[in-house]
């Protein structure tokens, strides 16, 4: 899922990824970077959330079928 500035740049709110081999969150982040080079300014200060929980960028979480992954750009609530 994409939100905020990332969603606006891509004009896309969600995309389905299918992997034929086990993939973890760190690998997924680099796949995102390759797939969406236009988001490069955002990636450096964004993190992922998997199934509604933040995942730190250095934390490798194995992805499972059906996981909902969100790219979380810098927050600006309040």
């Amino acid at each position: 899922l994409f939100f905020g500035e990332a969603k606006a740049i891509l004009n896309l709110s969600e995309k389905l990824f299918i992997f034929d081999q086990p993939t973890n969150s760190i690998q997924f982040f680099s796949i995102l970077r390759q797939t969406f080079p236009q988001l490069s300014p955002i990636f450096d200060h964004s993190i992922l959330a998997i199934n509604l929980e933040y995942v730190q960028n250095d934390q490798a979480v194995n992805l499972k079928d059906g996981d909902e992954i969100a790219l979380i750009p810098p927050l600006s609530g309040g």
Binding site: F3, H45, L75, G78
Partner: protein
């Protein structure tokens, strides 16, 4: 017997994302309890200027299911730190006209110190953890996605417009 005692200690916290104007009066009545001596509140309102630019309107979007979960996490952290009675945290999304409330936090406690401290802590925590994004649209038709300085991962790169 237990059920009869329950209404004396209602601890359900309210953590909500809404698209309508925030009803401040109704929130106050929700957090009031007979054994509270204080209700502290923070109401964040939308400002019409940023660094000299005139802001025409503000739009918020949220990752709603996660935002609600993070709001409730803040409530439970508050309960670990302070002895408070009831907590309500509401953030409005969508277009929020200038001068209206985008966020409201209401906390009741037996004595004022706890709810005042908890309210101040809660808004900082909200800004750093709850997945909500704000876009300002300026008079010259430019716009900007804001970044809270409280947001830890936003700081990994410099030269970002920051806003507190």
């Amino acid at each position: 017997m237990n059920q009869m005692n329950e209404p004396l200690t209602i601890t359900e916290d309210l953590g909500n994302i809404c698209e309508e104007p925030i009803d401040i009066a109704s929130l106050i009545s929700k957090v009031g309890t007979n054994d509270s001596g204080a209700i502290s509140s923070f109401i964040g309102t939308t400002r019409d200027n940023f660094e000299g630019k005139r802001v025409l309107r503000l739009e918020y979007e949220s990752y709603t299911p996660m935002a609600q979960k993070e709001l409730l996490k803040i409530c439970s952290k508050i309960r670990n730190k302070w002895d408070v009675k009831k907590i309500a945290m509401v953030h409005r999304i969508g277009l929020v006209p200038i001068g209206e409330a985008s966020v409201a936090i209401m906390i009741s406690s037996a004595h004022r110190k706890e709810s005042l401290e908890a309210t101040s802590w809660a808004i900082d925590e909200l800004k750093s953890t709850v997945p909500i994004w704000k876009k300002e649209i300026y008079e010259d038709s430019s716009s900007s996605w804001k970044h809270n300085c409280e947001c830890s991962f936003a700081l990994e790169k410099k030269n970002i417009t920051q806003n507190s």
